[in-house]
Amino acid sequence: MRVRQVHIDGYGRFSNRSLSFERGLQVIVGPNEQGKSTLRCFITDMLYGQKQGVNARAYQEANDLRRPWQPAERYGGKLGYELDGGQRFEVDRVFARDGEAILVFDDGGADITGTFRAFGNGEVDFAGTHLGLAKEVFVGVATISHLSLDDLGDHDALERIREKLAALADSGSEGGSAAMALDALAKRVTAIGGDDDRTRPLPSARARLVLLDHELSQARELREQMMQLRSERRTLREELSRKRGDREAVDESLLLVDRHELARLLREAEALKERIDTATKHCFALGAVREFPLEKLEDLRHAENLLNTAILERDRTVREAEQLAAQLTEERDLLGGAPDDYADVPADLAERHREATDACREARTEVDRIQARLDEANEGLAEAQATVADLPDFARLSADPVEWITQLVTSFDVARRSRDEETAHLEKITAELDHRRAEIARSHALFKEHKDFLDLAREFELERRIREEQASQQASLLQTLEGQREEAEEKLASYKLLAFLCALFLAGMSAAWFFTQKQVMFIPMGVLAGAVLFYVLNMLLLAKRVSSLKTQLAAPEPAPEEGEEEQEDEEPPEPGVIERLLAESGCETVRELEALFEEYREASAELTACIEVFHDQEERAEESEQRMPQLLDHYRKTFEKMGETIETEDDVQRAASNAIGRYQEYREAKRRVTDQRAQIERIRGEERKLQASLKETEATLSAVDAEVLAFLETCRFDTTAYEGAKAALDAYVARNAELRDRRTRIAMLEERSATLALKREEDETDVRTCEKALEELLSEAGVRSVAQWHVVAKQAREYQEVWERRVNLERELSDALDGRDLNELRAEVAGFGSLPEPPETTRDTLSRQRAELEQSIAELKEQEHTLHVTLTERGAGMRPVAEIEEERAEAERLVAELELELESTSYAMALIEDIARDKHARIAPELARRAGEHLGAITNGAYSEVRIGRDLGISVPIPERHDGGERPEKFLSKGTVDQIYLSLRLALTQCISETGESVPMLLDDPLANYDDARLERTMRLLAELGRDNQMFLFTCREDVVRAAEAVHAPVIRL
């Protein structure tokens, strides 16, 4: 694009001012405050307007700043421009807010404003369309003001240039690089927070949401529980209401029952009252005995009893004295004239006589007992001897018969088991033999006639191979013949065709010769005839050959096979044997048949070995079998001696057991004979000793008897009536004891008689005392006798009973009325009127029912109260569900918003990073190339290379240092840094246009630090670049003007 001219109606200090511009570099010069920046802004505003954005209706600050200083026709102007393609346009703008207008005309003067996109704020996007740059980018990139250069500084200048360059490349603005954007976004992501950072908004909000979810679920659960509790409470209340109804019904029944009870009570009270009146009358009639001392009745009875008792005691004493006197008389009569003195038997004599008598009796008892034992031993001896006599005499058979019999039995068992084993082994071998024979039977049937089978098989195999080779050769021959036949047939067809064609030509030639009669035609005709003949002959030969081949192919068997067949006819058996064996065995190949034969051979060998074993075993079994009868006969005889009979082999064990049992019986009997004999000898010795002792004891007893008899005679006791001294002594002792008893009893009776006499006097005194006491009591009651006392007492008791009955009745009445007044009761009952029938249930039952109901009601009330308390407690701590839901929704909203922010920010970061990296990588080489060229031009090759990395990192190699070094700006002058920046900005402006349209550059005095040489070269560079991009160099410096003039750049002075 090239700005051709401007006409400023009114804009800042300019008023009605027109300027025309050239295509390339031009310098606009003027002192400060002469409008250089105003003109630059005018151009920008004419292209892009003064709105803050593409949609905002708001104006930038420039709208006020650039208002015309002088009165002007209008706030605005015109700008004409031309595109690289040659199209020309003119823009007419009014910036005044109240008359804002924009019109775009083409070079024909037609209004084409409507062909451009219009923004919501009224702006028209013609500049963006033609330049491919938004306003920000145009202002940022195409405008290089001295302000941009001032802050480069001495240090880190290249880094700052890099930042500015990156920002321009990234956003078209020096303040908005992708790196800064990424940094801001990263901070934002951090600020939102991740899972690890609990204090950031997102994790906090998530945690809050979880808490609220939990609280909400708890609240809902609690609500459910409370609903359940309320439902239970409703049920309780219904139950309570029903119980209360029941209680009221019971109360009504109770009231009715109570009224009936009161009526009944009144009736009872009336009856009691009547009975009390009757009792009162009766008491009045018995009033005379009211004071009778009924309380003395017991005293009276006591006195009467005492008197009667005293009389009876006195009478009994009298009777007892009389009986005692009679007994005394009888005892004295019985004692009669018995002597008063008698001697007692001496104690030692009685003792010695008793000891001698006891010793003699014991000795006799011992003698009798030893005699009995002797008889018993003799009987045992006889019995044992009889047993021994009945048993075989084992002592003669063996020293240890048990071991001997056991050995016999063991030997017999060994022989028998050996025979059984041999027999079983024989049977097993026989079975195996049969099995082997059965196994081998089929193979044996096949091969028994062909012991030379292997030779036959080898021959058969050899012949088979020969036949196969012959067949193969025949097939090959047939194939060759078939090929020859086909070839011959093909040639035959060809020859036929050629012969036909030649014949045809020959015929044609003949016809031609017939009509032309030219002899020259004989030559080709002859050739053709020869050819026909040649082909016909070949046809005939080939036909014969084909026929011969067909005959050969059609032949059924080739000659060699026929020869073999004849041979087979001569010797048919051997091949036939193998084929028959194959057929019978079911084998498919001779190999299988050979394997079968091998198996047969091995099985035959094993069978032979097995037969030999069988014969050996048969001999051993027969031998064992023959030995057993001899052994049995020998055992039969042996055991006959021991009293046992053996018929079969099975009897041996039984006979042995019986024999051992007999031997044990024999041994026991022998032992008993010996024992009895020894015992008899021992008893006889004891008997002898006892007989001697008995004689001695009897002698001692005789001496003591004599001494006793002598004593009794001394006492004049008649001993003749007694047998022996002992009986006499016993009788003497008995008589003395009887006399002593009788005398004692008489003394006692006499003493008792004296006592009874005294007691009789005392009894008489008691009787008199009791009679006096009874008389006193009767006189106190005013009666004369006990009988009269009782009559009067009966009347007095009747009075008391009637009186007590009356008192009881009054008490009953009082109890029945229970504090009520009878008259009030009568009035109350009278007030009931006619009562309905009472319920069938009793009052107790009703009371019980009521009590139960009361209890149920109390329990229900308690339960209801408990539920109420529970509900109150639970409800008290519960936040409203709606409130929790609202808070939860708020937390959820916040989480969603923050997650959206996180997602959006992260995605923006990823995109920006990718895009910026790509953009930087793409732009860097072109930017470096152009900037290097420009810098080289400015510095005259002193610095001809600018290196730009993928991150737009800038370095400038310094030739003197022969390296790119770190921070080369440390070694560069301020002017050089400015020149590097200018080179880069120029290069960027060249690269930045999206449409490829050249972008006018507005350079606001960027050459402040340039020396003359570089200023001149820079000017040349700008002039050169001006061929592609229009250049507006705004300056106030004359040296710049001179430099511009040196390159023939037009100068516009303001």
């Binding site: 593409v54 905002a56 938004a134 309320r230 839901e885 909203r893």
Partner: protein, 393 residues
């Protein structure tokens, strides 16, 4: 005969729906709103007592069973006691069905309260008024039977018959309302039935084209959201006049939900937007305003929209906005630049065009906003939690 007819009070309802982007409200908004609902109900009961009404009809959704606070039950008991002996007829509705756990069943109510609990017609005679009240209620959220569709069989007995129920008349179903216990008006337009007190629609809706029966929805007496904006009413009904029933809507709103459009094309700053929104405030009841932003979105609208609205929100009970502005040209303009910002914008334009759904589109739009703002070193602040005074959702 004078009746108060109301419905759909939704005591203890939740305002969780408000917690979404583009809604600002003060702390305790839900609590205040629920208290407002009680106040409105109390006002109606006072009116019934002072007028005095012969009966009060509550045609369903008196409260929300799922969120019911039991002190609300005490409140209702107190209110019904207040107007005793004026009879109160309640038809259990969709949100307050008469389940076993419902306070309609579990709690004791004053004797002047009659609750229609089952989805079958039942009746209560009012001998003093020579009238019969018919009613039916929900015993679950979606009852199996539909007595409204089956109609109400009446005998001409010279008495005034009034019915109360909760259901949707098909011919007047508002957009977005769901059909529950739906019925055609003719099913209930019966000779002898003087008035059918209905509930379910949240806006006052008289049912037209009825020849015998006056049928009406009072709507909710207090707005519940922007779905049913404007002033809300309850109905005062007079029966027995020679000219037929007189149905008179009485304003009861304490907070008016309102929706207004605002053209943002020439809004160029946050403060300007605040001023424009504040200008929408009116005198009268508290306002819950939903601003529909239209026109072309100015550059930076998204970045300062929240702040602008937050400043304006002080003038309202609730301030919500819907951004219906036409997409900014800025993104497309940026996309034409040969800068990395331009490449980013170009990528965003392309992805937005290919976005499969609104969620992705929203995320991409936010990505573009944040990315561009980052280039300009003007990253918008993060969304925050509910503040002590006001919250920006």
């Amino acid at each position: 005969m004078k009746l108060i007819h109301t419905a759909d009070i939704h005591l203890d309802t939740s305002y969780a729906w408000a917690a979404r982007p583009g809604v600002i409200y003060g702390a305790g908004f839900g609590t205040r709103r629920r208290q407002n609902l009680r106040s409105v109900f109390q006002g109606m009961m006072q009116r019934a007592s002072e007028w005095p009404a012969d009966a009060v009809f509550i045609a369903g959704d008196l409260f929300e069973l799922d969120r019911l606070q039991w002190d609300t039950v005490a409140f209702l008991r107190e209110m019904f006691e207040l107007i005793r002996p004026i009879p109160v007829f309640i038809a259990a509705g969709e949100c307050d069905p008469c389940t076993n756990a419902s306070p309609y069943v579990c709690e004791e109510w004053p004797p002047n309260v009659h609750i229609f609990r089952k989805p079958v017609w039942s009746q209560v005679e009012l001998p003093g008024l020579n009238a019969v009240v018919h009613g039916m209620g929900f015993d679950q959220t979606a009852p199996e039977s539909n007595p409204l569709a089956e109609g109400l069989a009446l005998e001409a007995d010279g008495r005034t018959h009034i019915a109360v129920a909760h259901g949707a008349e098909r011919g007047h179903l508002p957009p977005g309302a769901h059909e529950v216990m739906s019925f055609p008006a003719k099913a209930m337009d019966r000779p002898g039935l003087s008035y059918l007190a209905l509930g379910h629609f949240h806006e006052v809706t008289p049912i037209s084209r009825c020849t015998h029966t006056a049928i009406g929805y009072p709507g909710s007496p207090e707005g519940h959201g922007f779905a049913a904006p404007g002033i809300h009413y309850y109905l005062e009904v007079e029966l027995g006049n020679e000219d037929g029933p007189v149905v008179r809507p009485v304003s009861s709103s304490r907070t008016v939900f309102e929706r207004r459009e605002l053209d943002c094309t020439d809004v160029n700053s946050s403060s300007a937007l605040t001023e424009r929104v504040e200008a929408l405030r009116k005198d009268g009841p508290a306002r819950a305003l939903q601003v529909v932003l239209t026109g072309r979105a100015p550059r930076g609208l998204q970045s300062w929209l929240n702040d602008a609205m937050a400043r304006a929100a002080d003038a309202f009970e609730m301030l919500a906005w819907l951004d219906r502005t036409v997409g900014s040209d800025e993104l497309e303009m940026l996309a034409r630049q040969s800068t990395s910002l331009g490449a980013f914008a170009e990528r965003m334009v392309k992805e937005l065009a290919d976005a499969p759904d609104d969620a992705r589109r929203r995320a991409l739009r936010r990505t573009a906003e944040v990315g561009i703002a980052a280039y300009r070193n003007d990253v918008p602040p993060l969304p925050g939690a509910r503040g002590t005074e006001r919250a920006v959702s």
